[in-house]
Amino acid sequence: MIGFLINGLGWKSMPKQAAGFLASLMMLVSFGLSLAIFFEVKAGAADTIIPLFDFIHSGKLLIPFAFKIDALSSLFLLIITGVGFLIHVYSTSYMHDDEGVVKYFAYLNLFVFSMLLLVMGSNYLIMFIGWEGVGLCSYLLIGFWFKNRDYTNAAKKAFVMNRIGDLGFLVGMMLVLYNFSTLNYNELFAQINTNQTILSGGTYTWIAVCFFIGAMGKSAQLPLYTWLPDAMAGPTPVSALIHAATMVTAGIYMIARSSVIYNQSEFALHFIAIVGLLTAILAATIAIKQYDIKKVLAYSTVSQLGFMFLAIGCGAYTTAVFHVMTHAFFKALLFLGSGSVIHAMGGEQDIRSMGGLGKKMRITQITFLIGCVAIAGIPPFAGFFSKDEILAAAFAHNPVLYAAALGAALMTAFYMFRLYFLTFSGKFRGTHEQEHHLHESPAAMTFPLIVLAILATVSGFVGLPEVFGEHHALNEFLHTAVTNFGAHHMEHSTELMLMGISVGLVSIMIGVAYVRTKTPNFQPNTGLAKVLENKWYVDELYDGVIVSPLVKFSGFLDRIIERKGIDGGVNGVGKLVRWGADRMRLLQNGQVGAYLFTMVIGIVLIFIVGLFCVNF
């Protein structure tokens, strides 16, 4: 069954017309299979390992190519293939006119294949294969329109930044191998659970932090997040699938998978919580002042990922996974909605030239609104439950974390509704030509929007908090695969109060956003706003502190050290020999006496050296 899943998705060359259809069909089939797997696991099927063949076998090292199906992977399978299928359908229409459409679907399928490898692998190496595979597809798809130099630069940046993280992942794997001689989850976790004393906490911390560095790259956390906003250079469905719904959540998956390791290191968890929180706040502040519809969503994604890591840092892995799921729905919805807008606007992405689009594109408007409400956290939409759970976990951990996270959540509500109002209400601010061109997108694009909108509305109910008298269905489902750290129970009254606070404040923020955008005024920003518009100048900082000096240093190595220093030295030796030879020539002067004299001196020297060596 799984074999078919893989082979089907590895399908790479297709005739032009059929490409989109075939690719979507494959996705539908794998979605069906994922559903079947999911219900099998839900029905209580035990964790299964499906071995295919031995990948690397060298001495003691044995790494099988095998898959592991359990609650965690089956849930991710469902998200990936489900959202993946919708986005494939959407793409058949969105990419219709592009000449590279076959290539596009091939990359997209390759991406899903890699992503499935990532979540189904039964050891870290298979995860790493998928991990790099999705990075490759991301690279290829960001640079899809390869004639534009900025786009290919963005692609390169994404890959290189991910590579930095990958190095962390790799070192983490080596530490695991060094200490446990296995990379298989089952054996590794069993070892940790049984002989907890053999390793110091420090080692666990190192492993945990190294893996987290990997996650920082892939899931765009501080300080490696700057590639994600640039990655919006790719086609919009790609942004939805890869850079919002699935790939960037790989870091969450990895840590949830490794929860056994992370539970051994409180330090690593604190570290993750802080990085996640800082990222959530920083990205939210930037999103407030962006004018590109996709950039707003991109920073929002970075910020939401920060929330997920905050949840992980509080030990609430299942909460993070819950937010991954809801986020996948509403963020894919928002991106596809923005794609629909961009499609209608003929490629325009600047919200300053939009406005009043709601009248022309009703379905897009409504579904986008649902997405905004969901991400802002208004009950009963999905984002409310998952975000609230994160806030509650943060509160239980430390009220300061809670307050900061709440701040970020409020900013989320503000920038999302700023985006919504600027785009869909008010008067149209673009050119006449664009206004004339405005139209609702075709059914292949609105159908996924509607489905995702429904999911964004209802998916929160799988994680109903206990306050409402329900048991937490998702936690229950996941608990066989993931162990939360320091689970705690809050008073119901406290929890209700927290919910009340956040919902109240979020509503106020939406109001503020409405008022602020009613009479849009796009004066050049000054002061803090300008800093925010320029993303805190982080790109410039990296460029000035790391990239330029490195390039200068390399140039210095090339011109001075390499050519003048080392090569000059080598040539110098050559010259020296020639010079010496010129002098030596003078010795061969034909006078026997001089020869004899030299010979005697030579013999004496040999004796001295000989004596010295013997005594030595």
């Binding site: 990948f55 060298s58 001495g59 595979g133 390869f146 390169k156 191998l177 090339d558 080392i566």
Partner: protein
């Protein structure tokens, strides 16, 4: 007997090519295909009686005999040699080469030498083949190379020849320490080396290591290499970078580490430091190259640095990974040069500034370039990953007290490798066509065959590496 054939076929076909005039190119290709068949046979039956060692009397007075043997490592390298030469000969078939008979004849002579180097189990025979492999290459570079070929080849020649002499003197010294019967045989040399007092081991170690370090090349003995790669005809560059540099590594594994184990252990940290500094150094320099051949040359130095570090890390895993990586690096760098060669022929330049747009002008070549580039930076499921993963893990597990630093610094090479390789892809394949050449030819049948064969190895061994892993460990 079969092992003699491996050397004899290219030797004889080479001589025939000298006489064949215009047909030389086809004679040579045919001969190399036969060699491929024989080397595949050797690899398939390595470790069985079908591939028996051979020993004939040669010059008993100085204790040397004509002895050949093939273990897994030798069989693997012979197979690699067998694969690379037909690929080389498939290139540039439409190009007008001056005096083709001599050109193809010399190429095959160097193949005979290479096979001999990998098979010889007698020190003097080893030295003999070592020179037999190199000397045709000197001629090929100095006659058919680029503008600065004379100057560059002279440096290359002097540099490597000094190395060869150091090696020869060390080997002779070692053979004098044996009991005189079969003094040059590998077993006797090993026993002699192990029994030497420490002081002499140290001296011999440096004589041998310098000789091999120049060949690999290891920082800071590498400066002949970018020049030579740039100036040599690309077909010869392939032989140099895929096979000749492996001679250096092979020699380290066969004629240095087992012979002088104590000195090896003593200097392991020093050599690893040099190699790993070389990785970062070469990667940084690769970043700022504007000539595509120089970029690949520096990239190769970085890769060799990693392999050499692994050779001295002293762990089973890195040793195993190293053998695998020797094969895979040979395949990948050949593939890279094949693409470079095609681009150079079509755009008529090696300068990045005059390239670009290959993805629109010749999509097939661009796709191959992208896949090969990712193999070059060891993306999983390409062959480059398996070896590199084992090398890094091995270095990390080495007994050296600096093993974590070594691993971390070598790891920078992973990041820098992505930077320069992707920049190259961007400059060659993406953007607009800056070459001024409007009609860019598709791959010819011969070129396509070469690319497909190499890609099959890249992907095949990336997904199913185990056959190669098993082969290299055979006794």
């Amino acid at each position: 007997m079969i092992l003699v054939l491996l050397i004899l076929i290219p030797l004889l076909v080479g001589i025939v090519s000298f006489l064949a005039k215009d047909a030389a190119k086809n004679v040579a290709l045919l001969g190399s295909l036969i060699s491929l068949g024989v080397s595949a046979y050797v690899a398939a039956f390595c470790g069985t009686e079908l591939v028996a060692p051979i020993s004939l009397t040669w010059m008993p007075a100085i204790g040397t005999s004509f002895s050949l043997a093939a273990d897994g490592m030798a069989a693997m390298l012979c197979l690699l040699t067998g694969i690379i030469f037909p690929v080389v000969l498939l290139l540039n078939r439409n190009k007008n080469i001056e005096n083709p008979a001599a050109y193809y004849g010399l190429i095959l002579l160097s193949q005979a030498g290479l096979m001999g180097v990998f098979l010889a189990s007698d020190a003097l025979l080893f030295y003999f083949f070592w020179e037999l492999a190199l000397i045709p290459v000197y001629f090929l570079c100095s006659k058919w190379g680029g503008e600065r070929r004379i100057q560059v080849t002279f440096k290359f020649f002097v540099y490597t020849f000094v190395g060869s002499l150091m090696m020869l003197s060390a080997l002779i010294y070692l053979s004098l320490q044996t009991n005189g019967v079969n003094a040059m045989s590998w077993d006797n040399i090993i026993n002699a080396g192990k029994a030497l007092p420490m002081m002499q081991q140290h001296l011999l170690f440096w004589l041998l290591f310098l000789a091999f370090a120049i060949k690999m090349p290891i920082f800071p003995f590498h400066t002949w290499q970018p020049d030579a790669y740039e100036q040599a005809p690309t077909q010869i560059t392939i032989i140099l970078s895929a096979l000749m540099v492996k001679m250096g590594l092979y020699a380290v594994l066969r004629w240095l580490i087992p012979v002088l184990p104590e000195a090896t252990a003593f200097y392991a940290d020093t050599i690893m430091t040099l190699s790993i500094v070389g990785i970062v150094y070469a990667s940084l320099i690769a970043m700022v190259q504007t000539n595509v051949k120089r970029l690949v040359a520096y990239s190769s130095i970085a890769h060799m640095g990693l392999m050499c570090a692994a050779a001295f890390s002293g762990t089973e895993l890195s040793n195993h990974g190293l053998l695998v990586q020797m094969f895979n690096h040979g395949i990948n760098i050949t593939a890279m040069w094949v693409i470079v060669n095609m681009v150079e022929n079509r755009y008529g330049t090696q300068d990045f500034k005059k390239m670009g747009g290959l993805a629109s002008t010749a999509p097939g070549i661009a796709i191959a370039l992208v896949i090969i580039s990712f193999a070059n930076i060891a993306l999983p499921l390409t062959n480059g990953f398996i070896g590199e993963f084992m090398l890094f893990t091995g270095i990390f597990q080495s007994a050296s007290q600096y093993h974590i630093i070594f691993m971390a610094v070598a790891g920078l090479g992973i990041i820098l490798g992505a930077v320069y390789t992707l920049s190259m892809v961007q400059k060659v394949a993406y953007g607009e066509n800056n070459s001024g050449v409007l009609a860019v030819a598709k791959m010819s049948g011969a070129e396509l065959t070469a690319v497909i064969v190499l890609l099959a190895f890249i992907i095949g061994l990336g997904v199913f590496p185990q056959p190669l892993l098993d082969l290299v460990l055979l006794k």
